[in-house]
Subunit: 123 residues, 2 copies
Amino acid sequence: MGQTKINLADKFSLFNEHWTPKIIGEMNGQYVKVGKGQGELIWHTHEDEDEFFLVLHGTLSIHIGDDIIHLSPGECFIVPRGVPHKTSAQSETHFLLVEPKATQHTGQIQSDQTVDVEDQVWI
Amino acid sequence: MGQTKINLADKFSLFNEHWTPKIIGEMNGQYVKVGKGQGELIWHTHEDEDEFFLVLHGTLSIHIGDDIIHLSPGECFIVPRGVPHKTSAQSETHFLLVEPKATQHTGQIQSDQTVDVEDQVWI
């Protein structure tokens, strides 16, 4: 059948980079990714893509305008398309991310942190 | 900004029915749902939709042909479109589900367990 189960702890053990999510699955034109973060990612906007976050470890902060949403393990947030945002974390956080395959890492912004769509890695 | 965080434990506290997932979010034409299950759901197929499962509590078994994939908390599985499957659980399991908004609960099969697309509930 070609499908195997995906163990999130196993996937998180395979990388250490921050703010460079890795692809673990694909469904309905979306990628399922796992990410680690500490410090912060730059402000950016995805014009045509909503992003779903579920935190699994630590606290992930999502900044939207003057609001900061702090997500603990078991908490989710959907960043709607077109909304400028950045993510930050005071200590290491692990999260699950679901977004369209075409989503650009930092929207139209290119920075040292940016991973181009074609350079994303499956683990 | 209209978006608030979603606490999965809070959502699971709001219902007890088995095999009737509730909608907790929407993104990119997909619904994010939470479900509880014990016993089993009937065999069915989604012809055009992949289904992503992440188990949060207990053990969820996904039957595909003669294979049974047992998922513990922190384990995921994507049931590809067109593949007949059923889900079962010996004791209560809680899971997160992501699938297209148009996904019919039990595919083309109508049973006592079926919840029609238009009767699905947001919590």
